[in-house]
Symmetry: C2
Subunit: 158 residues, 2 copies
DNA sequence: CCTTTGTAATACGATTTCGTAGTAATTTGT
DNA sequence: ACAAATTACTACGAAATCGTATTACAAAGG
């Protein structure tokens, strides 16, 4: 149980920094850039708001991330035809290439997980992980501070 | 399995942002400040280097965090008697109070976990979680880029 | 001793994240 | 049809993180 505390403490500042492989990825690009590219790869083109909500980031942060990626030529932003306010974010050729490269590395990592776990363990693991996420997600003993900024919560579904 | 990808993507930028309770804590203080105070509470006084390594943060980041906490009156930094170079970081009265308050909230969260899980599930969960961490931690198919900065890796033991 | 090497920490600057405020386009209510 | 509210996003400035350089002390070798 103390182990769970530790896990929390250790990953507070640099999440996933215990994963050897992702560290290599992050030499080239920030974790948020990486996330963004992978989301675009998995889910296809997205609006800025959709991206921000997928990432659990404020829209203003998303703007920064997107302009960075655009500057690096990894994504393109086009104005939607239906609604001139929304910007559709797309992977460029180069962005898609990079995203696929990283997808491959992630698959390798998960492959290691699959070979270390029995199929039953793997099932049980994802089941319990998601169950735990649900628990932490649910409202606790309601703590009624009225706060200026409603903190953005990332939702884990499924 | 795709679910594990998702979990990774969603928590890349704001780890634990799916936990409702920690969001409330973070209204008052950053996640790194919180980690630091809890480490001091759990482990007792620490040097700057020890703190940095516990957090998996660079020492320079730790300096920033510590001066922030000192400015807020939550910790004190004293020069060690044995070695004038090392600074011993201690919780102040107020720092200890805050840390205990948060420890309490974390206990509540883990309590919710304990009541949602059967004891067997909880055991299995921590076992699998640590096993997974180990797997991700181990060297993969060695990728031989020589990098200027050896990225800091957080080690999960036990 | 006193130079050399090593270690603990801070200083500084660059990059990233994010809260607040603003702008522009769309929708709603009357 | 048009003012008011809402939505999608960007701008800007403040704070946080972190790499590199620097300072201060300690230990080792001559």
């Amino acid at each position: 149980m103390q182990q769970l505390y530790d896990l929390f403490l250790k990953t507070g500042l640099r999440p996933f920094a215990f994963m050897t492989d992702t560290l290599q990825l992050e030499q080239k690009v920030t974790r948020s850039d990486l996330s963004t590219l992978l989301i675009l790869l998995f889910r296809g083109d997205q609006t800025m708001s959709e991206l921000a909500s997928e990432m659990g980031a404020p829209l203003s942060s998303m703007t920064s991330i997107a302009s960075r990626l655009e500057r690096k030529g990894l994504i393109a932003r086009a104005i939607s035809a239906q609604d001139q306010r929304v910007r559709l974010v797309t992977l460029t050729q180069e962005g898609r290439r990079l995203a696929k490269e990283w997808e491959h590395i992630m698959q390798e990592m998960l492959g290691r997980l699959e070979s270390a776990f029995t199929p039953e363990e793997l099932d049980e693991f994802t089941r319990l992980l998601l169950k735990a996420a649900k628990v932490f997600q649910s409202e606790g003993p309601v703590r009624q501070d009225v706060k200026k900024t409603a903190a953005r919560k990332i939702n884990i579904e499924e």
